[in-house]
């Protein structure tokens, strides 16, 4: 492989080669420290949220996690991003999923199934950053926030598509805070991150609520968790303070279900959505499936093939570096085409899948929004509750206890 244009040197002066040692990569130990801290911090949050009912401990965890996972370990690999590694590992047999990345993905889910979203509370550096800067909540219309909570699912769907087709890690590409943790990186994303942070001074956790795909995943497990976070174990006096305090609007006020609507009409609506579910699912699948060729351009090889076609169609244009390198390496366009066809086939399959996923999410969301429920006291919506503990300091019953 090495060109020997000139003979290797032959020394007469007894010269010895210098001994060059290249610095070794970070110790693997750090990965295990990360995992240990992840478990420990989630444990602390669980203890603080369920047993101690203390916000201070959770803020402490947030600060620590921000400093350690965020600024010191500079964010990679995180649990949010690990979705992609897991998907990639499932589809690409050539990729070996490191055990600690799998643990990063699974451990928060397991904790969520037991204690609710304690990971989101302050262990996740992305959440911790927003938590720390948040000083006051200006409540957004519940209707708007419910509608916006569909976005993380769509984001998740496309993340899966791009990771499964080995194209890109969307979450990493559009991570707004990683640039802040590293004090450098893509300027556009840093600006976006700063804007999000400015927003999160007055609106609780915009990224977690309206973008985070891992949060969407955890919300399912959160709503099914074994132990629920409670504002207070004493009787609720319906004072509305906890509701005002919640940064993510996860506390539902008492509601006397006095809808004028006929009960039958309500049932009819739900039945309609249930019937429409397969239709919507199929429609979304069809739509995204038929756009798969356009989507596939995100893949490097498809893009390259496209460039080659462009150059061939328009010989006057400057030859892009990618095409030049392709030609220079003596790679074969026919081989590339077969490769591209295989990739596009993959895209087709996964596009149908994620289209169906999006349709399903939309339908389920609509069905959920069609149910009427009566509440006598303030109740925590476990899917959205991030266990941040802000309400503990507001509840008069809790304050009294102390």
């Amino acid at each position: 492989m090495i060109v020997a244009r000139f003979p290797k040197p032959d020394f007469s002066s007894g010269y010895e080669y210098p001994d060059i040692v290249h610095p070794a990569p970070y110790e693997q130990l750090w990965n295990w420290i990360d995992i240990f801290l992840l478990v420990a911090l989630m444990g602390v949050v669980a203890w603080a949220a369920h047993k101690k009912h203390s916000r201070a401990a959770i803020v402490g965890v947030s600060l620590f996690s921000l400093a350690y996972f965020g600024f010191y370990r500079s964010g990679c690999v995180c649990s949010v991003g690990s979705i992609q590694n897991v998907v990639l590992a499932l589809t690409d047999s050539g990729y070996q999923l490191p055990l600690y990345v799998l643990l990063l993905f699974v451990l928060p889910i397991i904790f969520t199934m037991i204690f609710g979203r304690v990971f989101c509370a302050g262990v996740c550096p992305l959440g911790a950053l927003q938590e720390i800067v948040n000083v006051r909540n200006f409540r957004m219309s519940r209707a708007v926030t419910s509608a916006l909570s569909v976005i993380p699912w769509i984001y998740l769907a496309f993340t899966i598509l791009y990771a499964a087709t080995r194209s890109q890690f969307l979450i990493c590409k559009f991570d707004p805070f990683i640039g802040i943790f590293r004090l450098g990186g893509d300027v556009g994303m840093i600006v976006f991150g700063v804007l999000l942070l400015l927003l999160s001074i007055f609106v609780g956790r915009p990224f977690c609520r309206f973008l985070c795909p891992y949060g969407a995943l955890l919300s399912i497990f959160g709503s099914l968790s074994w132990k629920k976070v409670e504002v207070t174990r004493k009787e609720c006096i319906n004072c509305t303070l906890c509701h005002m305090a919640c940064p993510v609007d996860a506390i539902r006020p008492p509601y006397a279900n006095k809808v004028k609507e006929d009960r039958l009409a309500g049932v009819k609506r739900i039945v309609m959505y249930a019937v429409l579910l397969p239709v919507v699912t199929a429609l979304c699948a069809l739509l995204i499936g038929s756009g798969s060729d356009a989507l596939s351009r995100a893949h490097k090889d498809v893009y390259l093939y496209d460039l080659i076609q462009q150059v061939e169609a328009n010989p006057e244009m400057d030859i892009p570096l990618e095409v030049e390198t392709f030609n220079g390496l003596g790679r074969n366009v026919e081989d590339l085409r077969t490769e591209v066809e295989a990739i596009q086939h993959d895209y087709k399959v996964y596009s149908y899948l994620i289209g169906a996923l999006i349709g399903l999410v939309l339908s389920v969301k609509l069905i959920k929004l069609s149910t009427k429920r009566t509440r006598k006291t303030y109740e925590i919506d476990d899917a959205n509750c991030l266990a941040c503990g802000k309400c503990f300091n507001y509840c008069p019953q809790e304050i009294k206890k102390k």
Partner: protein
């Protein structure tokens, strides 16, 4: 059955939730099982590294790393090169005077230094702090010399992004995930 219907809505909800919990738990276990069965989930970590034999020195390593100064550095395989006085990686192609003046050197940051050993051999050293990974010297070396200069990701600087920003734009697909024991792909051993 009729007894079930009589149960209060709260109980019914609880029942659904239990079912849901079992379902969700099952699906997680299923996913983990599928992942685990599809893979030898390796305890080893992965690192990013450049295959110096596919690298075309396009210059994107310098500009596309997320670090302010790229983690990609130039390495020199001492045993590969003939160390001629007129070195294609050290001097610009049409150099006039063989001295270290700015107009003669290939490296824009002056990161390559050399020490005379014996006629006609020199020993080249790269100051990794100054090197910005532009690959100009590597290009010169591969075009005119033995190719003893090559680009590598310096592992203690690399932040190990989940997806390498340079790999995404590398036109030669030279950047790969590697395991710890081949964290460097050196030309000395090839």
């Amino acid at each position: 059955m009729s007894e079930d219907l009589k149960k209060s809505p709260m109980d019914r909800r609880k029942f659904f939730r239990t079912c849901g919990a079992i379902l969700a738990g099952g699906s997680v276990l299923g996913t983990v099982g599928a992942v685990a069965s599809k893979l030898k989930v390796s305890g080893a970590d992965v690192f990013w590294q450049i295959d110096p034999f596919t690298c075309t020195q396009c210059g994107r390593c310098e500009t596309d790393c997320i670090l302010p100064v790229s983690a990609v550095k130039c390495f020199h395989a001492n045993k590969v090169c003939g160390y001629c006085d007129l070195c294609g990686g050290y001097y610009r192609p049409s150099v006039k005077d063989l001295n270290t003046a700015a107009e003669n050197l290939m490296c824009p940051t002056g990161a390559i230094t050399r020490k005379f050993v014996e006629e006609p051999y020199f020993e080249y050293t790269i100051d990794e702090d100054l090197c910005n990974g532009c690959g100009k010297c590597v290009k010169g070396c591969t075009s005119f010399g033995n190719g003893s200069l090559f680009l590598q990701v310096q592992q203690d600087l690399c932040l190990k992004c989940n997806e390498c920003n340079i790999a995404k734009v590398c036109p030669a697909d030279a950047i790969k995930r590697v395991s710890q024991d081949e964290a460097y792909m050196l030309k000395d051993h090839a």
